[in-house]
């Protein structure tokens, strides 16, 4: 269907049809976003009513542009879009993003308009994103081709969202936690480009996680997150996902279990929902993870972006409170993980370093009066254990707890043992916030509740198990980088 999407997502030049001088108009916001994102390519605003927009020369129509832009953004009312697209096609631009609403999502009239739109796109072999979409952000180019409020850092996440509104929430949340992504793509009505074309584009991407660009502490994979309300071609979707999961985890949020949700979605994009149980099974079959909620998706984003997937299901829990430790032990059993067995040597070491009253079996209870050093000792001892695959650290803010120091020491442990994931649960609100900030900077996921941390580890193990790959970590001169080899079957 669509051709190579590299020019769409990394254009050397962008034209904005319907560019505006007004800061609150979509045509104005997108021009500002493109410029503010540090885009180094050429920008051509097109608007017959203006001579200059943001210090850029403005052109009266598309055909008068001096060059053929790689990408055209269309931000004009629906009834004018088809004509504009004809001009874009005539000029020779092959990639178009259409923000305009008023197509299939509004009903029959819009559906007819969209049908015509697709016809024109096909006539000129245009890769069309939208209509009725928020656009996309590519942090690697960099370029922000959206009319949304996006502040973003480059990182290893890749996102597709069928909804533009949810995208805004996700951007905001990313900013708060310091999560970065490479591309964030919204699909709108999926009239030409659907999730499959974007997945195919990502399959074809070969990328290095260069520390200079991305910083330390990333997991080494390029996780793919999808928010979808419908599936355009299930069989192709399964094929593509099955390929991607061999190297990178894929997690999907798709509402629609309830009839009400299904109805709401139909009006949102005019798309049909298939049976949810089938979708569930399809994902499980290809090794993708289904998110149960937005919270799930946020948490998995962080886990997969920042932590290496565990090589086995054995978890050790280190906690300064007995209650949450017990809850974690329960959770471990429920999600298909195991409590790592602690061998006698390790037990002895723990006994030497911890007070008599401390529990040294897994979960390891370092007691409520634990200062940062006791945490660090316990963590060092258990992480050395060969039969430990993952660590969950629980911290409750007691009067003497050294929250920030503990966070720093956990960060050190994470750097020291890069092939074992560490998840934290700093339980609380205000007091633990500073500690969580340190964890975020060190790229260690922290969860409000320990069960959530354990669920995240389980999802990561599940991916590792299903994709059956070996992870080899090499120490390069600029820091660790990860290469993945598939196990020979």
């Amino acid at each position: 269907m669509a051709g190579n999407l590299s020019k769409l997502f990394s254009p050397k030049s962008v034209a904005v049809v319907g560019a505006s001088r007004e800061a609150n108009k979509i045509g104005g916001i997108v021009v500002k976003n493109i410029l503010d994102s540090g885009y180094k390519g050429l920008v051509y605003p097109v608007n017959p009513k203006a001579e200059k927009i943001e210090e850029l020369k403005c052109y009266p129509d598309y055909s008068s542009l001096p060059k053929v832009p790689d990408l055209a953004v269309v931000a004009i009312p629906a009834q004018f879009v088809i004509e504009a697209l004809e001009q874009v096609g005539e000029k020779g631009t092959k990639n178009v993003v259409v923000f305009s609403a008023g197509f299939k999502e509004i009903g029959d009239e819009g559906e007819e308009l969209e049908r015509q739109l697709v016809e024109v796109a096909r006539k000129y072999e245009i890769n069309l994103l939208g209509p009725n979409c928020l656009g996309f952000v590519n942090n690697l180019t960099p370029v922000n081709v959206t009319f949304g409020q996006v502040v973003s850092n480059p990182g290893n996440l890749r996102f597709v969202s069928q909804s533009g509104a949810i995208a805004s929430s996700i951007f905001d949340w990313f900013e708060a936690t310091g999560l970065g992504f490479s591309e964030f793509v919204t699909l709108g009505n999926k009239s030409v480009i659907s999730e499959n074309e974007v997945l195919e584009y990502w399959l074809g991407q070969k990328r290095d996680l260069v520390e200079e660009q991305f910083g330390k502490g990333l997991s080494g994979v390029w996780p793919v997150g999808l928010y979808l309300e419908s599936i355009v071609d299930g069989k192709k979707f399964m094929e593509l996902v099955a390929e991607i999961v061999k190297l990178d985890p894929v997690f999907v949020l798709k509402p629609g279990k309830s009839e009400a949700a299904a109805k709401a979605m139909q009006s949102h994009t005019g798309a049909l929902a298939g049976e949810d149980a089938v979708f569930d099974q399809a994902l499980a079959q290809v090794g993708a993870i289904r998110c149960e909620s937005l919270e799930d998706m946020f948490e998995l984003s962080r886990a997969f972006a920042w932590e290496v997937a565990p090589k086995g299901p054995r978890v050790v829990v280190v906690s300064n409170a007995g209650g949450p430790a017990v809850i974690s032990a329960d959770a471990v059993g429920e999600v298909g993980l195991e409590l790592a067995p602690i061998d006698d040597g390790t037990l002895t070491q723990l006994r030497e370093h911890l007070p008599r009253a401390a529990s040294v079996k897994n979960p390891v209870d370092v007691l409520g009066d634990a200062l940062a050093q006791r945490y660090a000792d316990a963590i060092e001892i258990v992480m050395k254990e060969e039969r430990v695959d993952a660590l969950v650290v629980i911290l409750t803010p007691q009067v003497m707890t050294q929250i920030e120091e503990t966070a720093e020491l956990i960060a050190k442990a994470s750097a020291k043992y890069p092939d074992k994931p560490i998840m934290c649960s700093f339980m609380g609100g205000t007091h633990v916030a500073a500690g969580e900030e340190i964890l975020n900077k060190a790229r260690i996921p922290s969860f409000r509740f320990p069960e959530r941390a354990i669920k995240a580890v389980a999802a990561m193990w599940k991916w590792r198990e299903t994709s059956n790959k070996e992870q080899v970590i090499l120490q390069g001169s600029s820091g660790p980088s990860a290469i993945y080899k598939q196990k020979n079957k």
């Binding site: 399964m238 089938v278 979708f279």
Partner: protein, 228 residues
Amino acid sequence: MEKAAGEGCESLDSVESNGLLSAAGINIPAMEVVGENEVAQEFATNRGYPVVLKLNSPLLLHKTEVGGIWTNIYDDEELNRALEGMWQRRDGLEGQVKNATSLVIQEQVDSGVEVIVGVKKDPSFGSVLMFGAGGTLAELVKDRNLFVLPMSHEEAVGLIEKSIVGKLLTGYRGAEAYDLNLLAELMVGLAGLAESSKVIAEIEINPVIVTYEGVWAVDGKTVLRTTT
């Protein structure tokens, strides 16, 4: 089958469905349409007892509610009584349904585990196989296990093992385990049949009876995609 779809038939009756399954290599207990009682008597004499009598119609998709099955016929006397009873039941049906309904005699498969195997076409993902506990309990137990086709033999075995009824099949409370391979073969065969046809919208066998000696498709149901 294409002809039936072309004529606007929405579904096949048991005899036609079973013919399809048989052609796909799936074991069907011998059955015959009973035009006159002699046919039934001859069948029983040749094949032996026990037998069942069934009402057969593309319009009767749930036989049990209309008393459309008479099972456990072990001798001639019972057969005659059953024949009388079943003709009466057929005559008691509504006009249009009655005209499309025939009487069928079939070998009875003795005890085993009842399972359901079906294939449905999903608009997004194509053919999907469903496996689970079958027979009259099917709606109550809700043992629904799906697999998006294509499916290999190993995957079929895996699907059986993760189901609720699978616990019975793999040896429950001291009972001997059943050979899952024959059942898996049936599932793969049904999947192949459904995938190779453009006119089959849904095809279901309920029940498939799993015995220690073999696996029997006792009642097939086929819904066609109409082309008129």
